[in-house]
């Protein structure tokens, strides 16, 4: 599965310098707006786990910084491995897989609105890759978390089910 992710990631074209500059110029405001929207969600505690709101906020600030680093010198292996690390670490801390679906949709909506059409067209494939592969990230990190109480919504039955 990881090889397939890497193959897909290798097909992504890094954005051009102008698009990267625009992203660099706008990400802080977009992140601030996105964080407000995320923190305002009534189901936040369910998405990120009780007491993890600060962690979600930090993640939302670090995420665009990572994407900017990635765009500036695109390394498919870094993209794949870092995303898997994030899924492993944050799921271990109680984040639900639905968190990424919710938060990535916020990011996509804001980026589409705030970036120029040209920059958006170049940057969107990376966010789309993240969204469509959530089930794969989940499946891979399921096997990385031995004895893990699944927080995949498909397996949730009240308090969670031991795998």
């Amino acid at each position: 599965m990881k090889d397939e992710l890497l193959t897909q990631a290798q097909k992504l074209e890094p954005p051009g310098e102008t698009a990267i500059r625009e992203f660099a110029h706008k990400w802080e405001n977009i992140a601030a707006t996105g964080t407000r929207l995320l923190m305002g969600r009534p189901d936040l505690a369910k998405l990120v786990g009780k007491g993890n709101e600060q962690m979600a906020e930090d993640n939302n600030r670090n995420f665009p910084r990572f994407m900017l680093s990635l765009f500036s010198d695109y390394q498919p292996a870094v993209f794949v491995e870092t995303v898997l690390w994030v899924f492993r670490a944050y799921r271990s801390h109680g984040f639900q897989t639905t968190y990424w679906a919710a938060n990535l949709n916020i990011w996509v909506d804001l980026l589409r609105k705030e970036l120029s059409e040209d920059a958006w067209q170049q940057i969107d494939p990376f966010y789309n890759w993240l969204i469509v592969n959530i089930p794969i990230f989940t499946a891979i990190t399921d096997t990385d978390l031995p004895g893990f109480v699944s927080n995949n919504p498909d397996h949730l039955h009240g308090t969670g089910t031991q795998k």
Binding site: N62, R65, F66, L68, S69, L70, S72, D73, Q75, A77, V78, E81, T82, W85, R88, A89, S92, H93, G94, L145
Partner: protein, 214 residues
Amino acid sequence: MITESLYQEYLTLLLEGNRRECARIVQQLLDRDIEIKTLYADLFQKSLYEVGRLWEFNKISVAKEHLVTAISEGLLNLVYPRLFDKTVSDAGNDRKVVISCAANEFHQVGGKMVADIFELNGWDSQFIGANTPVDHMLTHIQDEKPDLVGLSVSVYFNMPALKAGLAAIRGNFQHLDILVGGQAFNWGGTEISRQYSGTTYVPSLDRLTSLIAE
């Protein structure tokens, strides 16, 4: 040589926050004349990586991780009598290195270890700390005129800051050799040495030692 049982004992004490007993183990190793590089790589670095992994799997809190880092940094001080041992200082080579972390990079233990390895090899080694602004670093380089600069970066999203630092050094000091390293390179990005002339990526303390010897 650090046995697995000694390492496990040290790790357990470290996770308990038992600074005194960790110091006892380190001091015993130093008294047995352990090679400093071995101590750094096989005890300090290995345990810090393990602690990072334990945080990743939610086995320990951020507070515990910070405690472990603080203890580990403090334990580096036990090595200093060896670093400045007379026989070592007599072998000084009159070369100077400045070690810094990229701007916005707050993980500094690796950079400190690198600075110590240089000192151990007779260099005048100056570690100027975490999160050093580029302009201050440039001023320091201008004042100190080192033979070499080392930059450490632990978190991948600080790569742009590292590159800004490299570009600034190269723009101001055309012939100054630069080393880069750190955990941010774990999954890629090592081609950076091809993007900035006179820049060498150093993957480990072992490689650093052999580079210094060349």
